[in-house]
Symmetry: C2
Subunit: 327 residues, 2 copies
DNA sequence: TTGAAAGCGCTAACAA
DNA sequence: TTGTTAGCGCTTTCAA
């Protein structure tokens, strides 16, 4: 409160020491007597001194920013995931005095990311979503900057943090199988998203031996509803939805068509969210922790920035929630 | 592509000029012969030189970042608004070589914002939401940094950009009145949000002469559903929802209770979004343009940073969408 | 029209 | 344990 733009020089002069001493007192690097250290720190506290991060950054070639890259055209339901994830990232970043610089990607246009990299505005990047043949990953690799992806990728040497989608989906699918399902349908979204592929694989592995049909690339409402109609016509026992949004649309369609759940058809979702949590009956689904995902990603990135070696791939757990929709 | 970390000195040496000349060629400040200017610019282009923004920032006391502050605990539906708004901000910011530093506020905890301000990591701030007695606005004013709010506020000397909620709501309400409504109910959310107040006022002004009841602070699903029950019991003609989420919950409740729209009760929403756009029948609502809001806010902020004077308050338009739900 | 030199506020060898 | 002295890469007076 006392002073506006106090610098390290002011403090040094005021205290009759060199600026190096002040710098060291703050950073804790180098040997310093506890008494002078205290003296400096007290002064700083009392006068509310805040180091200028630009100057520090210039001297250390650091920005104290990390890039947070998300799709700019997400569905409302995906937004919630990114938001949760980001909160985890922020939590961890803040602890280390880092801030988040946000960048969006539209379709495959990574111009925003490139700008940030070119301008050296971040020390590392967290990629919020992975695609097959992901141009963002390519650019990041090429730039040489530390980065971690939230979501899996086949690209070599990419540090990644993800939910264990494949095992989760396999587990849920095999439970459904055990319940005596004879045929099932998976309605899934864009197949260029890595997560879609993982879920599909888990589904097929878990449903092994059961007659299955898969509808890929169901993005628009009409496509999803069409898939539901097909599924009902084929007398399937169970409709499995690749994510919460698809499930939400499926539920609406079934309701309007007067198809009861689970007696008419059973329904399960590979992703749980508030969008489907109030459904009657409650929907069997998989529960994850996006915030933990973000936190883990950020911790990992900070370690990389600090030059430490890290786990190349971390998979976080999940929870199977069995509800009345698949009785 | 050619070089990794080219500096202004390298260029100067290479071209046999001083770094001042190079700096001037880039910035366009100061007099320079067109020939040398071209020579420098060509070299830069050819060698893919990118100025170090930290260094430039230190010299100019600028960060080339703007702070983007949003609530960290938004409902899924509000997220969509902030996302749209942010896209508008990014569009404009990018043009001016600015990036977005994101900060979240939980409840009334503005710690994150304070950190960013203390650390001087931004040249200006856009506040994504305003509250009555807003602690963020207080902190921003005190800091002296340029800022603009998305949403209105009563605080003096705050540059603000907003949709014209009050007039929009008044217009919609008065149209409903003209349709012969005898009594109506407004179900609204948190009253500490400025926007809630504006909508309420618009509603009451437009409904002047009509018997009205207002339910404030309906946030949880049960509260909203309770309000619906009360409204139905009181035989109201029309339920007006303060936002899309409330409307979404109201629609669900009416459906389950078997109340037809509009014959059983009419329904309108003061905010349109994808959440209610597929409803049957279509819902009468107000349509805004959050992206334009963000873009305007950012343009205004950039002008302020540049030292220009700006409109203290800008209100953007809206569109009344009359649909079957209020026939 | 151009250049020399000081400085933005901090860190980090290297000395003392 | 502390201080001296160069930088980090750029902008900006002030001279030439």
């Amino acid at each position: 409160m006392t002073n506006e733009n106090l610098t390290i020089d002011d403090i040094a002069r005021e205290l009759g020491v060199s600026k190096t001493t002040v710098s060291r007192s703050i950073s804790g690097k180098g040997r310093i007597s506890e008494t002078t250290r205290r003296r400096v720190l007290d002064f700083i506290e009392k006068n509310n001194y805040k180091p200028n991060l630009m100057a520090r950054g210039l001297a250390q070639s650091r920005t104290y920013n990390i890039g947070w890259v998300v799709p700019g055209d997400s569905e409302m339901t995906a937004l919630s995931f990114f938001q949760q994830c980001m909160l985890g990232v922020i939590d961890v970043a803040t602890q280390a005095d880092y801030d988040l610089l946000i960048t969006t990607i539209f379709d495959h246009n990574i111009g925003g990311l490139l700008r940030v990299l070119d301008n050296q505005k971040v020390d590392g990047v967290i990629l919020g979503q992975t695609l097959t043949q992901d141009p963002a990953i390519r650019a990041l690799k090429k730039s040489g900057i530390p980065f971690v992806t939230v979501g899996s990728t086949d690209e070599k040497n990419v540090v990644q943090v993800d939910h264990d989608h494949r095992n989760a989906c396999r587990e849920l699918a095999s439970i459904l199988k055990l319940k005596g399902i004879r045929s099932s349908v998976l309605i899934a979204g864009a197949e260029n998203k890595v997560v879609t592929q993982a879920r599909r694989r888990g589904f097929e592995e878990g449903m092994d031996g059961v007659s299955t049909t898969v509808y890929m690339n169901c993005e628009r409402t009409e496509e999803i509803e069409q898939a539901v109609e097909d599924a009902l016509r084929s007398k399937t026992d169970c409709i499995v939805c690749e994510d919460d949004r698809i499930c939400y649309i499926v539920l609406g369609k079934l309701r309007r068509d007067g198809v009861p759940i689970p007696s008419g058809v059973r329904v399960a979702s590979f992703y749980h969210s508030s969008l489907i949590e109030d459904s009657q009956p409650a929907i069997t689904s998989l529960l994850y922790d996006p915030k933990a995902l973000g936190a883990t990603a950020c911790r990992t990135l900070l370690a990389m920035i600090a030059g430490e070696t890290t786990e190349p791939r971390q998979l976080l757990g999940y929870e199977v929630m069995l509800k009345a929709s698949t009785l």
